[in-house]
């Protein structure tokens, strides 16, 4: 193989070469959080949990209530916290992601519409929900939506967690909209032109040529947003929706609110979320590397 200095052989000179500053390489990307999570070794949550288990026995030697009793309480509550708590976090995240993806895909395609009003309208909706605090959106949905709907004489009750799903699907929708728009626009325009010259209609180009190339590119950011969404579901506890954090608080109340309970219970929540999101983060980064556009 030919040896090229500075590439596969040592540079011949150590003179500094000023290359143009690459902005993209130095600004945080959309994966910054997932990248960080994926970089953690798998034993991190266990190490954290063990530290938390040992540390309080030194820190709070002021009470008869021992750390062992606190962990015993956690053990008793674990089935309930998983069944009625974390299950709902997962359910809320899955449903919000589903709704957000469907609406977001439509909104993203509307953003590349040829009709100016459609483009402008979908851009506005995207920016509005992308740049609003998630908690504010949740509050609005929770307070503005009725708790029951009358349809054909019957009454359909809307439980609070469904409102949580709707509230969380709005920001997801806006962000997926940007993912879709970005992915479509990342396909070289030459492909559009080539397809047009072969007499494909715009719809055919989009569905048969452009979008099939986009799915791979969209998958990593889509999973990235899913991990972020899952970790945002405890926001629902601020609104009284029953999920892991809400029920952890209620469990601690039932165990007489000993401060020693705080670390085991919230530590348990931490471990659960980590155990759920960590594989997603690892897989996302692997897919990201696999599908990265070679430059």
């Amino acid at each position: 193989m030919k040896r090229i200095a500075g590439l596969n052989a040592p540079a011949r000179s150590d003179m500094a070469v000023l290359k143009p500053f690459d902005v993209a390489a130095h600004s945080p990307d959309g994966y910054i959080f997932t990248r960080w999570v994926a970089a953690l070794p798998w034993w991190t949550p266990f190490a954290v949990f063990m530290t938390m288990a040992i540390w309080p026995s030194i820190a709070y030697a002021q009470s008869n209530y021992s750390t062992a009793q606190a962990f015993d309480a956690l053990w008793r509550w674990t089935p309930f916290l998983l069944k009625s708590g974390f299950f709902f976090n997962v359910l809320i995240s899955v449903l919000a992601m589903t709704i957000g993806t469907v609406l977001g895909a439509a909104l993203g395609l509307a953003q590349i519409s040829l009709l100016r009003p459609v483009r402008a309208g979908s851009w506005f909706v995207t920016q509005l929900f992308r740049n609003s605090p998630w908690l504010v959106l949740l509050f609005i949905v929770l307070l503005a939506f009725p708790f029951e709907i009358r349809l054909f004489g019957g009454v359909i009750r809307i439980p609070d967690w469904i409102k949580g799903v709707i509230g969380l699907s709005l920001p997801v929708m806006a962000n997926i909209s940007e993912v879709v728009r970005g992915a479509v626009q990342s396909v070289p325009t030459a492909q559009w032109e080539a397809a047009e010259s072969l007499a494909f209609s715009r719809r055919q180009i989009l569905w048969q040529i452009i979008l099939p190339q986009c799915y791979k590119r969209m998958l990593p950011p889509w999973m990235n947003w899913y991990a972020i969404l899952t970790m945002a579901t405890p926001l629902c506890s601020l609104l009284g929706i029953e999920e892991l954090i809400t029920l952890s608080r209620q469990a601690m109340e039932s165990e007489d609110n000993h401060p020693e309970l705080l670390v085991p219970f919230f530590g348990f929540a931490l471990v659960l979320f980590f155990a759920y999101c960590y594989p997603i983060a690892r897989l996302t980064m692997r897919l990201e590397r696999k599908f990265a556009v070679k430059s």
């Binding site: 008793r76 309930f80 029951e148 209620q250 469990a251 109340e253 039932s254 609110n257």
Partner: protein, 278 residues
């Protein structure tokens, strides 16, 4: 969406009309609805031991849950318990999401304008603080200018703040607030005297005391929709509470749930006692 807003607005308008003509006519909407579907939806606490909390299977239990079950039994309908928080309980009742609530609510004048609170009150509690013995507080004025931990949504936070110039640091949960007290982020923890009393007697707070005299002894009230306060629902709840006092039901429940016997319940029991009973 517009339809929903319209119906919400008309709902508000209806509620306003109903509020001004409470005594004029009783539609008994909620009562009739409960009877029609054979189920009463009662808002209770899930985070206020021993009044309303969860056992480790997730079931709601507590003194107020027993009371709620008794309400349903006396009405002859099924019961559905909905956990409420201090911050949303009155809104839930106004919206009609719950038919009534028994949720450790203090009976305050401003709350009576929003929900119907039928007398007589079923319990009462005062405000006190838990503070380290080492600080040696003896009167409320000792707290002036100091940081005091509190629970978000408690009505007395503001009162204590205004009256004694303390700085309230409010937490969402009691465990967090009590941890802050131990971490010396505040000099005292202001809360219900009955709850502090049971904490102190648990033996886990030996270095702490309840040094002040309780203030703002405030009766608790259950609530029905405002429009039905003077109608069937409100009258029924008044009668039921009267009998709870008279028959000593509340005193028995107090003992069952390990609440320190209060002078209030004993006094009410004596006041309503049957003059023919031996």
């Amino acid at each position: 969406m517009i339809k929903a807003i319209n119906s919400m607005l008309s709902g508000v308008a209806l509620a306003a009309v109903a509020a001004t003509s409470v005594s004029a006519e009783c539609t008994n909407d909620t009562w009739n609805k409960v009877m029609e579907r054979g189920k009463v939806v009662i808002g209770v606490k899930a985070d206020y031991k021993p009044w309303g909390y969860r056992d480790s299977d997730g079931n709601l239990v507590g003194m107020e849950i027993d009371m709620a079950n008794d309400v349903a039994a006396k009405m002859g309908v099924d019961v559905e318990l909905v956990p409420v928080q201090s911050s949303n309980r009155m809104q839930f009742l106004e919206q009609g999401k719950i038919d009534m609530m028994i949720a450790t609510m203090s009976d305050r004048a401003d709350r009576r304008e929003i929900v119907g609170i039928p007398g007589p009150n079923y319990y009462t509690s005062g405000t006190n603080v838990m503070a380290p013995k080492a600080l040696g507080f003896s009167k409320w004025e000792d707290l002036t200018g100091k940081k005091v931990c509190g629970k978000q949504g408690a009505f007395y936070n503001q009162i204590v703040e205004e009256r004694y110039g303390v700085e309230i640091v409010a937490f969402t949960g009691n465990a967090e607030a009590k941890q802050a007290l131990r971490d010396k982020k505040c000099v005292a923890w202001v809360y219900d005297d009955s709850s502090i009393g049971s904490d102190l007697s648990s033996g886990n707070w030996d270095d702490f005391e309840m040094p002040l005299s309780s203030e703002d002894d405030n009766p608790w009230g259950l609530a029905v929709p405002l429009a039905e306060k003077s109608c069937v629902f409100g009258q029924f709840m008044s009668g039921l509470q009267y009998n709870w006092h008279r028959e000593g039901t509340l005193i028995a429940l107090e003992a069952k749930w390990g609440i320190k016997p209060t002078a209030y319940l004993a006094k009410e029991n004596a006041r309503y006692s049957d003059w023919l009973a031996e």
